[in-house]
Amino acid sequence: MVFGSIDPTLLLASLMVAATPILFAALGELVVERAGVLNLGVEGMMITGAICGFAVAVNTGSPLVGFVAAAAGGAVLALLFALLTQYALANQVASGLALTLFGLGLSALLGQGYVGIKPPRTPKLDIPLLSDIPFFGRVLFSHDLMVYLGLALVVAVWAMLKYTRAGLILRAVGENHEAAHALGYKVVRIRVLAILFGGACAGLGGAYISLIRVPQWTEGMTAGAGWIALALVVFASWKAGRVLLGAWLFGGVTVLQLNLQAAGLAIPVEYLSMSPYLITILVLVIMARDKSRAPASLGRSFHASQ
């Protein structure tokens, strides 16, 4: 068999882990962009969440408190972005890039005392009975809480945007903020809330890397995951379900290519290394051939007087 020494069960289980950080970050950014705001600071918010979560988890001994702190840390950084772009009406692209640089520097500063420290272990949530099912038990039902939270968030975001009044308002603000304003919706307030949600999600994604996937603190440890999440939102046509698919594809192919290499498959390594990017983009672009497009007000500043 081609798959020689690769165990598909373990492979799929690590796929779920590899996909979770970008899934969180991309979902948050999806909501932000649906509200008409382009926040390029995902990487900065992720890394800030990674160190906030790590530091708090180490000091309190509780990974759960750590994740809460990570969400808070990401949201605080996002608040800075919200102040700049929603109240000071600064350019969103420039503010977002600045946020990434700021987040990377801030996290390096905060993390100085945490290099080489081991975080408390996040318990796996072995669901009784279900986790004993051969194959599916290991793949689906023996992960940590955050994996399930990520999946629940996909459903929640999807349902919120599609079926609820709040989702409709959010989309209205993102499509045409003048019209939404004319209807009496608080455009700026709604956008600030969306930005905070995006920051919290990015923070959770970052903390997932520092507390579970690696688990340790190293400067710059998100290493571009935030940018992947940003690209994923676009290629997923701003749809929650496709973000999940994209995250799984990207995480899955990344893990698969490493496993194929270890198994000594005779495919040139260069092709394997680029495959996660190629396959994810290819699949999502093909899927995006329907009429989905970016929110019409994406990246535009709003002020009631204009």
Binding site: L10, V214, A223, N259, P268, V269
Partner: protein, 357 residues
């Protein structure tokens, strides 16, 4: 009036003083490929920089730029440092070779030192450490300690330095354990903790119980610790925070003496373009404390091997050795020459898989 005069004089004096200091100070720049807190490669280079500062005190000023990508942007970063008035610039990653040479041609009065490369110029030196000597010791311990006979190796880029490390480790693991098998993953990155951890996990999932790494972060150590029953070796830095298990020993790069000597040469005006390649003997490569997780007899053998290499009694690439394709490389007792080692682009016999181009 008097106060104004006084202030003017003071300002003038201060200005002169700063100007004088600025002229006296030698400025030494460092270009890093990762963050200084990576706990490995860049961390050790930065320790070397701090040693320079401590040694020379006020006579020397150091500047550094971290996380510089290998490629076009590196040229911009190095140029900027040269424009800032650096007298000596260390570029500390293989991928900075061409950018360093390009910038050096534009700044003939600035001295450049490129780590792990093989191209020099009148104002460009190269320096590197014989990490493969440390790899030989690692391979010995790994071969003796593995129970599954599968050793996982996280490689970065297919450059001679990395290939040399794989070969040296394999030769010495095979020598003590003929059944040993190497599984190699090319990560195509020096620093990406999440990817390094994934690579370690993939290797462990496939039965490896020893992980050797040639990437810069401590993430593989953390992944091995999480998996349990896996041993690792610190890379570039001691990584002693993961001792005694999974980290059982390490290769430590010690750049400080070299950096101090080269800075001194610039100050004295005796700097010349050189090619330095030092190993365990001169102290550029250190072997980290072998932890108690290693059985006493294995530790003793490893230390004996280390001493033999340090004294020059034994070369890790000593024949009989064949290349992967079965062709002869070194006859019995023959020792590899530095030229072949510096350009090494082949596996030795027994390693499966192909080197990416």
């Amino acid at each position: 009036m008097r106060i104004t005069q006084l202030l003017t004089t003071a300002a003038l004096a201060l200005g002169l003083a700063t100007a004088a200091v600025a002229q006296d100070k030698t400025k030494v720049g460092f270009i890093y490929v990762g963050p200084i807190g990576d706990g490995g490669w860049t961390y050790e280079h930065d320790k070397g920089r701090l040693a320079v500062e401590e040694h020379f005190g006020d006579a020397v000023e150091t500047v550094y730029q971290e996380s510089v990508p290998e490629g076009a942007d590196a040229e911009r970063a190095i140029t900027q440092m040269a424009l800032q008035g650096a007298d000596l610039i260390f570029t500390t990653s293989f991928g900075f070779m061409e950018p360093t040479l390009a910038v050096a041609a534009k700044f003939p009065n600035v001295k450049f030192e490129h780590a792990t490369g093989y191209k020099t110029a009148p104002n460009v030196s190269t320096y590197s450490a014989r990490f493969y000597e440390g790899r030989a010791v690692q391979g010995h311990i790994a071969g003796r300690m593995t129970k599954s006979n599968i050793i996982g190796y996280i490689a970065s880029f297919p450059i001679p330095e990395v290939i040399r490390g794989i070969n040296a480790a394999y030769i010495h693991a095979k020598k003590v354990n003929p059944d040993v098998e190497f599984k190699i993953i090319w990560a195509f990155t020096w620093f990406d903790p999440a990817k390094e951890a994934d690579a370690a996990t993939a290797l462990i999932d496939q039965g490896a119980d020893v992980i050797l790494q040639h990437t810069d972060s401590t993430a593989p150590q953390a992944a091995a610790e999480k998996a349990g029953n896996v041993i690792t070796f610190g890379q570039a830095s001691d990584m002693s925070e993961y001792a005694p298990l999974p980290r059982v020993s390490s290769i430590i790069d010690n750049w400080a003496p070299y950096y101090i000597a080269r800075t001194q040469a610039v100050i004295d005006g005796t700097w010349e373009s050189t090619e330095t390649w030092d190993g365990i003997g001169p102290g550029m490569v250190g072997i980290g404390e072998i932890s108690d997780a290693v059985p006493a007899d294995v530790k003793e053998e490893a230390l004996a091997l280390k001493n033999a290499i340090a004294q020059g009694a034994y070369h890790p690439f000593t024949g009989p050795l064949k290349k992967q394709d079965g062709s002869d490389w070194l006859a019995t007792g023959e020792v590899a020459d530095d030229g072949t080692l510096l350009g090494m682009n082949f596996y030795v016999e027994g390693i499966t898989g192909q080197i990416p181009n």
